[in-house]
Amino acid sequence: MPKRSRLDLLQGTLDLLVLRTLQSGDALHGWAISERIREISENVLQANQGSLYPALHRLEHQGWIKAEWGVSELGRRARFYRLTSSGRKQLQQEAENWTRLAAAIGKVLEMA
């Protein structure tokens, strides 16, 4: 397998990934979200941890996710995030946009 470098996330896509991670309905804390993004993308995508928390915060302000305090698997206090219904709608819309964009770019690349 050829060595693939990790890609930095483009602005805006981090929001999409966070929303997608939370789609299962589970409440996750920040660490779990960043780990899940890395695992699912097979180490290709690395959420910049520094930008993850601002992103979480932004989404919370938009009302797309909701935060509550809970107890983590380590027995420590942690902040858990959960998708709201308006967040679900937003995710659907952004995912569609992304798919359309990706398809379009793919076509252009094939043609070239």
């Binding site: 602005q11 920040g30 928390y53 601002p54 919370e60 302000h61």
Partner: protein
């Protein structure tokens, strides 16, 4: 902003410590998890902690970032923006200077206008409670304004409808010690009601006007004391002659009080002196002459509309026994809080000036916006990097706007300095160019920088900051993150379109201003060159008091320097000619001006009688029922008929007069209105009527001074007014000269700003396309082709701007032409000169950068990238 967002922000604001703690807990938890992972991978405890922190980035930075996102620290981020902006200004002082200088030009001009407007219209007079002072009268059904008789004033004092205090005022215009003097006779409570004291001596008090004629006291204005009485320290107690009556100066008014009206008052004397000082029927006599104006102080808490209702009822009661047409049609209450009341008519008159000045400020802003845009484009890489690092666009726009506002601070300060210099220059110009007989009537009002001026300055500076800062900020932050990081600049950016739009707008405005001021200059030239139909040279007009008329005429007619003497009820070019409705038999009824003149009038002024004959001396003394018509009047009364021998009926006198001659048309009223459309001359003699006209042999101003002094020695105060007709003419034209001087200054400034604006844009265009031009040169383009390429760009914009400017200019010229007789709808010269000026400016501004473009060395430029 969503509701959730708002709630979270409010929470962050009020529970800051708790929110911060939560933030810390969250980050701490993340680090703990990260440490655990690194431990599991076989790192030592310390190594794991280090790696975790490394993964996360600098903890402090993240937290700051999140605080910014929470918007709880707008103040702190504003401080950051200011520090950042100041740092970048420090690196580029030339930019700061250019920007603030350009804005200051436009700002200073507007600030100067506002300062003067404030001084006359907004700044309250320095009297007690100026806002409750109102002048009161009513309009009669004939349309004329009512003037009060002494009895009516007495009744008003007794009834006090709506007013707690009232004063009666009567104007008095005369000459004292060789100076034109405009004073007021006032009731004794005048100073008391206004609540003002004196600089020297005492004010008038009610006891001064206890009984008619007993108390010859006068209070001078500070300015009159200084300019017309030499500022003598012993003025109080001395006597001056007003209309020949010795009056004791009892006081000098405060420096900041020159009466309640826009024309400055030189003195105040008790109204009880009216009998001695005024011509005509005795104010207190049986004739009950109506010649008083009323100013009163409304009761505390009295509304204007309430006062109007009360006063209407009162005026109806007062006029109950009068003829129908003398009954009140409407109450007129005018505020006396400021020198000139702020009315919609006033705003309408000043709106062209305000519009022109505002356009100059907009021009400055456009220039600066263009510079800011160029700078922002140069900073695209910086902005792109900041955006890709997660900076929020709104925050960046805010930061760029902070820069604009910071730049507007020195601009405001420069602007204030420029405005003070402008005012000094304007006043200097006025004093240097105004006809000197007019100078004595100019109100030299204080024009301080007060809170209103400062408020306007801040307001205008902020508006400018947004005008020149917002568009570039929005443009500049519209950056593609990826391409800017890769160094491919302005692929996605369309600043050129915005900038082109700004250049077009600039040229449009400039063309418009040049055309308008050109039309104004042309109008002034037309008025100055206008043939008024008679000779003004060597003619002096004298207005005497009725009592001394005989003596003055004897003195003047026996004077060796005077070779001819005539009389006219209205001085030609004097600005005032009464009109009357007149009709011919079976003919139309026409509103016509009329002037009673002596037979010498026509010969002295060189007005040819094209037909018929002049008045005879006998007709003049007997005021025979004959008339001479102006050619215009003859054509309108008797179209197609021979006017000689016909009769016309003159309005209210119901007198029928026979036409004995036709005189050429002249300007009798006002030079700005052109020749009188219709004018009827009636015979009169100098001994009975109006103004005396003198034809003198020597230099007219010397003679005027000599005659004034001579008559004064003979009969002090007998001359109310004495001017040469040349001065009357100059006074009639002066307003236009002043307007065209302002117009020329505004036009010149607009041209200068446009020059620098186009220069900036074309230079930028050349810098941007250096590579392309280099390639063109390498491929064999000649100097001529390159210059043409660049010039074509600027000329295309210029052409669009000029077309728009001409269309707007035509509209404005039409509007002005409908108000001014001498202004033409479409003055080809003004339009041509305006367009040529703009065009040559655009060419000049484009030529230098285009020339530079042609010098581009292809090898050099291609090697650069």
């Amino acid at each position: 902003m969503t509701l959730t967002d708002l709630l979270l922000r409010i929470r962050a604001l009020f529970f800051r410590a708790r929110v911060e703690q939560e933030l810390e807990d969250e980050v701490e938890f993340h680090l703990a998890m990260s440490r655990r992972q690194h431990l599991a991978a076989g790192n030592s405890e310390e190594e794991a902690a280090r790696l975790a922190r490394l993964d996360f980035g600098r903890v402090g930075v993240i937290k700051e970032d999140r605080r910014g996102a929470q918007g709880i620290d707008a103040f702190e981020s504003a401080l950051q923006d200011i520090r950042f902006a100041l740092r970048s200004f420090g690196r580029n002082p030339g930019f700061v200077f250019t920007v603030s200088g350009t804005i200051a030009l436009g700002l200073g001009l507007n600030l100067a206008l506002f300062t003067l407007f404030n001084a006359y219209v907004l700044r309250p007079l320095s009297i007690r409670d100026p806002y409750s002072l109102y002048s009161f009268t009513w309009s009669e059904r004939t349309g004329s304004e009512h003037a009060f008789s002494w009895d009516e004033y007495q009744q008003l004092v007794k009834d006090k409808p709506a007013f707690s205090e009232v004063v009666a005022v009567q104007g008095l215009y005369t000459r004292v010690e060789g100076h034109a003097i405009l004073g007021e006779l006032v009731t004794g409570n005048y100073f008391q009601m206004l609540g003002i004291g004196t600089t020297l001596g005492r004010p008038l008090v009610p006891e001064d006007s206890d009984a008619p004629g007993r108390e010859p006291f006068v209070v001078l204005s500070y300015q009159a004391w200084q300019s017309k009485f030499g500022g003598r320290p012993d003025i109080v107690g001395s006597r001056i002659l007003i209309r020949g009556s010795p009056m004791e100066v009892v006081g000098v008014a405060p420096r900041d009080f020159q009466g309640l009206t826009e024309s400055p008052r030189d003195f105040w004397a008790p109204l009880s002196m009216a009998h001695q000082l005024q011509d005509g029927p005795d104010l207190f006599g049986a004739g009950h002459p109506e010649s008083l104006e009323i100013v009163g102080r409304l009761h505390a808490g009295q509304s204007v509309s309430g006062a109007e209702a009360v006063l209407l009822a009162w005026s109806q009661r007062m006029t109950a026994n009068l003829r129908k047409e003398r009954k009140p049609a409407g109450i007129l209450l005018h505020s006396h809080a400021t020198s000139i009341p702020l009315t919609s008519e006033l705003l309408l008159v000043f709106s062209p000036l305000v519009a022109a000045f505002a356009l100059v400020l907009i021009l400055s802003c456009t220039n600066v916006a263009s510079m800011m845009l160029a700078r922002a484009t140069a900073r695209q890489r910086e902005i792109g990097i900041r955006l890709s690092l997660g900076a929020v666009r709104a925050r960046l726009i805010r930061q760029l706007l902070t820069e604009s506002i910071l730049l507007s601070i020195p601009a405001a300060i420069f602007g204030l300095i420029i405005s003070r210099l402008t005012i000094v220059a304007v006043l200097w110009t006025v004093f240097a160019t105004i006809p000197k007989d007019m100078l004595e009537l100019v109100h030299d009002v204080a024009h301080p920088v007060d809170w209103r001026v400062i408020g306007f300055m801040i307001f205008a500076a902020l508006i400018s900051a947004f005008l020149f800062g917002l568009a570039p900020a929005i443009q500049a932050t519209r950056v593609s993150v990826i391409s800017s990081v890769h160094g491919e600049l302005n692929s996605d950016l369309r600043p050129s379109r915005v900038r082109n739009g700004m250049v077009i707008a600039q040229i449009t405005v400039c063309t418009l201003l040049l055309i308008a001021s050109g039309a104004l200059v042309r109008t002034t030239m037309a008025i100055s060159a206008f043939d008024i139909g008679f000779h003004t040279d060597h003619v002096i007009a004298v207005e005497t008091t009725e009592n001394d008329r005989r003596r003055v005429i004897d003195a003047l007619s026996s004077d060796p320097g005077v070779d001819r003497i005539a009389a006219a009820s209205s001085v030609p070019l004097g600005g005032l000619v009464p009109t009357v409705m007149a009709s011919s038999q079976n003919g139309p009824t026409i509103s016509t001006a009329h002037n009673d003149v002596s037979p010498d009038y026509f010969e002295m002024l060189g007005i040819p009688l094209s037909r018929g004959r002049n008045f005879t001396a006998l007709e003049a003394t007997s005021e025979a029922p004959v008339a001479i018509l102006s050619a215009g009047a003859a054509a309108r009364f008797f179209p197609g008929l021979d006017p000689l021998g016909q009769t016309i009926r003159l309005g209210t006198t119901a007198r029928v007069v026979r036409v004995i001659g036709i005189a050429s048309d002249i300007v009798t009223c006002c030079i700005a209105y052109g020749k009188d459309a219709a004018l009827v001359y009636r015979p009169a003699t100098a001994s009975k009527t109006g103004n005396v006209l003198l034809h003198v042999r020597g230099e007219v101003e010397t003679e005027r001074h000599r005659l004034d002094t001579r008559v004064r020695a003979l009969a002090p105060g007998a001359i109310n007014d004495i001017h040469s007709l040349d001065q009357y003419r100059a006074m009639g034209i002066y307003a236009f000269r002043a307007a065209s001087m302002i117009g020329a200054a505004v036009g010149g400034l607009a041209l200068l700003l446009t020059l620098s604006g186009i220069y900036g844009v074309v230079s930028y265009f050349v810098t941007q396309r250096t590579k392309e031009i280099g390639i063109r040169v390498a491929l064999g383009a000649t100097t001529f082709m390159i210059t043409g390429l660049v010039l074509k760009q600027s000329l295309r914009l210029t052409a669009i701007g000029i077309v728009a400017g001409v269309v707007l200019g035509a509209g404005v010229a039409r509007l002005l032409a409908s108000q001014m007789v001498f202004m033409r709808d479409f003055d080809v010269t003004a339009f041509t000169v305006g367009v040529l000026l703009v065009l040559s400016t655009a060419l000049a501004a484009g030529y230098i950068p285009s020339h530079r473009a042609a010098q581009i060395d292809p090898i050099q430029t291609l090697r650069y990238d």
